[in-house]
Each structure stands twice: as structure tokens, then as C-alpha cells.
């Protein structure tokens, strides 16, 4: 769980706009799926001394491929994700599920984690944009829309958006509160299973 949450750092960093959140979530999930699948297939056939190095190279290759695809199909998304796109290659959850960190995850758990990543990214992007900017942006590759809640629903903009949620501090805050809520539910139901698994 700890690695999973810490691995969500790039999602937190870019999810100030809805579309960025969704894009980041999809890219992250895809990378995770591809890289851990590939590594799971070949991992046991590699000698131990180069196992981790090969894993790192595979992850980097997958990220490069996805990056090139993003640049080709959605250059504006790639620009707004900035450095966080290549940084996925050293994400600690991907390392963790690929076995570079001790305690590798089973492939089935990785599927679940991908699902969670997408859901979390969508909601993080939506919430942070609505609370922080008062808009919903769905612009990708020049197509899409921007929906201004303040103008279209409230008309009179007396309830101004809380900019703090669009700032990094807001990202930390939301993550902390959501996590606390999840832990609370976990404590109540007293399940022994961990949250993502």
C-alpha cells in the first residue's frame, strides 16, 4: 500500500486539470501493465546479477514507446505532462511490481492496481479542477471542451474557487484525506486483506 501511494506522485503532480489526470492515469496504468507483464514473462529466465538491470531497461523502453505514441497523437497532453511522463520509468510502484524492490506483486494484483490508478486519477483531476479552478477541461489534441461551472451554473460567482486545491499543497491534502477515509473504512470493516489486493 505504501509503495502504491508513493507511486501516485506523478498523478498528484499533474492532476490540476481533468484531462491531465485522465491522461496520466491511463499512461501510468498502461506502462505498469506492459512492463510488469513483460518482466513477469522473462524474469525467471535471467541470471540474478543482471535481472534488475534488464528490468529497468525494459521499463524504460516501454515508457519511451508510450511517450513517442503520446507525442504523436496528443502533443499538447505530452507538453502539459512535462517531465512526469519520462519520470514514470523510475516510479517506485512500477519498480515494486516489477521486482526491482523486494517483495514483487502477483500479476493479478497489478491488474487491480491499474484499475485503481485510473479511477483515482480521474477523480483527482475532476475534484482538483472543480475545487481549485471551477472548470472542467477536456481538451485533447485541439478537440474537446472547457466547461466553466461558475459561469454556467452559479451565474453570480460569489463562491470563488479555492485555489489551494490546484496547488501542490492541495494535492497533498486531498491525498491525505482520501487515504484517511480509506483507512477509516478499513479499520471499521476489519478486513485483513490490504486495500488494493
Amino acid at each position: 500500500m505504501k509503495h502504491f501511494v508513493l507511486g501516485l506522485a506523478p498523478v498528484l503532480a499533474v492532476s490540476t486539470l481533468t484531462i491531465n489526470g485522465i491522461g496520466m492515469g491511463l499512461i501510468f496504468a498502461l506502462t505498469l501493465l506492459l512492463s510488469s507483464g513483460l518482466i513477469f514473462l522473462i524474469r525467471d529466465h535471467l541470471p540474478e546479477i543482471i535481472r534488475n538491470s534488464i528490468s529497468v531497461i525494459i521499463i524504460a523502453a516501454v515508457v519511451t514507446l508510450i511517450q513517442l505514441a503520446t507525442v504523436h497523437y496528443a502533443p499538447d497532453l505530452c507538453a502539459s505532462l512535462g517531465i512526469y511522463l519520462p519520470i514514470i520509468a523510475v516510479n517506485c510502484y512500477i519498480y515494486y511490481s516489477a521486482g526491482v524492490y523486494p517483495g514483487a506483486e502477483a500479476p493479478l494484483k497489478t491488474f487491480k492496481a491499474c484499475l485503481y490508478i485510473v479511477i483515482i486519477s480521474v477523480f483527482a483531476g475532476l475534484f482538483r479542477e472543480i475545487a481549485g479552478k471551477g472548470t472542467i477541461t477536456m481538451m485533447i489534441a485541439g478537440a474537446g471542451f472547457t466547461y466553466d461551472l461558475g459561469k454556467s451554473i452559479l451565474k453570480d460567482i460569489s463562491l470563488s474557487p479555492a485555489v489551494v486545491f490546484a496547488m501542490p499543497a492541495g494535492g497533498f491534502l486531498i491525498a491525505g484525506l482520501v487515504l484517511a477515509f480509506i483507512q477509516h473504512i478499513k479499520n471499521i470493516s476489519r478486513r485483513n486483506k490490504t486495500w488494493i489486493c
Partner: protein
């Protein structure tokens, strides 16, 4: 009788007498010390200030009640700490502030900054300051004052101050100026501090060192941002305007979030003075005192760790 509760029950229990001091006594003394500032706010701003203070108090008390129920702790409204937090928070808000900002800031202060850490005594940041930095980050234009002497000085320099007739130090001291609810009257704040010192609630180490350091620093560097020379600042104007007095007398001295030892308190207060001056002179923000307290609160456990007193009998072995 005293004795057989908890793990300590297995050992001899002593002492058997107590000086009957209590958290309530300390906290309600602080509340009493905060009353003059509220009165001054009523005198200069009228009912608007009382509405803000009342909203904050109500939010604070309700939040405290809810959090006590949520955390399954005994209800601690009567210990007065929530009242202090709400009062201090409302004192930092301008009278033009929309009420939803007061409500959300006060809720954040008590629910997140205090209770998420376990309630009274466990938070590392002063709750009121935490609420303040939250609302200033979220709604900067609504939650800061645009026309108080310090903002005028920052945007227009000394000429703007004289043209707005803020150069009368007596007015600045008594509080006959625009500003936030509680910070305008330095007289009321100092009266509160004097009461606390007389009631032996605190030693005035932090306020004196904080204000002294800030004065010296602002005197040396005060003229630099406007293109002047060294030693051309106006420390008296700087100390009498803005919220530095409120901050030094009530926020920085908070028991929970200030260092334990005298040495630690001095280090803490010197850092506060320097940071306040730096933020005031060069930052985008007008008032640096609250931000500097927020920043230094993070380092309080570290300061405590490095200013431990030498234990009696240690260090002179053989």
C-alpha cells in the same frame, strides 16, 4: 484514590498533593487576555467584526464537538482551546471577509490542523495559523486586507502612507486604522499579554525577542526594497502596523507549538523575527509574521532536540 490506574499502578504512587493548576485555568486565562482585542474590534469596526468573531466561535465549537465524537474522546469544548483557536483565527480575518471563508478556515484549523494529529497537545502547527495559511492560499484576495497601513506601505512606499494619513503613531497604536479584526489595536494586544504575564501563564521571552529581532532587522534592511540605503528602515511603523504584535503575543507563544527551553525559545524567536522581516520586505505577501510562525513551527521538535538542557550529573563524570 490515586494509584491503581493504568500501568503505573504496580509501583508506589506519589506525590499525593497537587497545586490544583489545570488546563482550563490556563486556557480561560488566555481567552480573557484575548477579550480586549475583541472589544477594540467592536469599537472600531462595529457589528461586522462581532459577526465574524461569532461565526468563527460557533464553527470552532461545533467542529470541536464533532471531532470529539468522531474520535470517541471525552468532549473537550470546556477546556477552552477551541475557543482560543477560533478567536485567534477570526482576529486574522479582515472585516470584508465572506463568512464562508471564516467557516471553512476555522473548520480546517480545528479539524485538520488540530484533530487529525490527535487533539490538544499533539499538533505541530498552531491551529489558527494553519487555518490562516489555508485560507490565504485558497482565497488570497478575500482573506487579506488591501488597505491597511502595511499594504499601503508595501505598494506605494512612505509617500502613500503619508497621503493616506497613516503616519500618526498614536493612531497605529490605539488601532484607529483599517486592518483585520483583531490586529489593529496594539494597546489591546499588549494589555492581553500583560495579563498573561501577570497571571504567570507565560514568560514574555518569545514576544520580546521576536519583536526586537524584527525591529532591528527591519531597521537595517527596511529601505532596501525601495532602493534606499542600509539603516533607513522605519521599525516603529513596521511593528505598529500589520499583525506582528498579535502574532508575537498570542500565536508564537502557544505552548504546544513553541520550544520548551528558554534557549530554544530564543532561537525560535530570532528565526521568527528574521523570517518575518524577509517575507515582509521581499515576498508577495504583505504580512510575514503568520507565515514565519507556520514555517518555524515545523522546526520546533528539532529545536527541542538540540536545546536539551545538560542533565544534572551528566558530563562531569570523573
Amino acid at each position: 484514590m490515586a494509584g491503581t490506574e493504568g500501568k503505573a499502578g504496580t509501583v508506589v504512587f506519589s506525590p499525593h498533593i497537587h497545586n490544583r493548576s489545570s488546563i482550563e485555568k490556563i486556557m480561560w486565562n488566555v481567552v480573557i487576555a484575548l477579550v480586549p482585542a475583541a472589544l477594540s474590534a467592536y469599537h472600531f469596526f462595529g457589528i461586522k467584526s462581532i459577526i465574524i468573531i461569532g461565526t468563527s466561535l460557533l464553527t470552532g465549537i461545533v467542529t470541536e464537538l464533532l471531532m470529539c465524537l468522531f474520535a470517541r474522546r471525552p468532549v473537550t469544548i470546556l477546556d477552552g482551546s477551541a475557543v482560543i483557536t477560533s478567536l485567534l483565527f477570526s482576529y486574522m480575518m479582515p472585516t470584508t471577509c465572506p463568512l464562508f471563508i471564516v467557516v471553512s478556515g476555522c473548520f480546517f484549523a480545528i479539524a485538520i490542523v488540530k484533530w487529525a494529529f490527535g487533539g490538544l497537545g499533539c499538533n505541530f502547527m498552531n491551529p489558527a495559523i494553519g487555518g490562516y495559511i489555508f485560507v490565504t492560499a485558497a482565497w488570497k484576495n478575500f482573506s487579506t486586507c488591501g488597505d491597511d497601513p502595511l499594504s499601503v506601505f508595501k505598494s506605494g512606499g512612505w509617500n502613500a502612507v503619508t497621503s493616506a494619513h497613516f503616519e500618526n503613531y498614536l493612531n497605529l497604536f490605539i488601532g484607529n486604522i483599517p486592518g483585520t479584526v483583531g490586529e489593529i489595536s496594539k494597546l489591546a494586544i499588549l494589555a492581553g499579554l500583560a495579563y498573561l504575564v501577570l497571571m504567570r501563564v507565560l514568560l514574555p521571552v518569545i514576544p520580546l525577542v521576536f519583536l526586537g529581532t524584527a525591529a532591528v532587522f527591519l531597521w537595517i534592511f527596511g529601505g532596501i526594497p525601495a532602493g534606499g540605503a542600509f539603516f533607513t528602515g522605519n521599525p516603529l511603523f513596521q511593528l505598529l502596523s500589520g499583525g506582528i504584535a498579535l502574532c508575537a503575543c498570542f500565536m508564537a507563544v502557544d505552548y504546544v507549538t513553541s520550544p520548551l527551553t528558554i534557549n530554544g525559545k530564543i532561537i525560535f524567536a530570532v528565526c521568527l523575527g528574521i523570517l518575518t522581516s524577509v517575507i515582509r520586505l521581499w515576498s508577495d505577501f504583505t504580512e510575514g509574521a503568520f507565515y514565519s510562525v507556520a514555517f518555524m513551527n515545523i522546526f520546533v521538535p528539532l529545536i527541542d532536540r538540540f536545546t536539551r538542557t545538560r542533565i544534572f550529573g551528566y558530563g562531569r563524570l570523573r
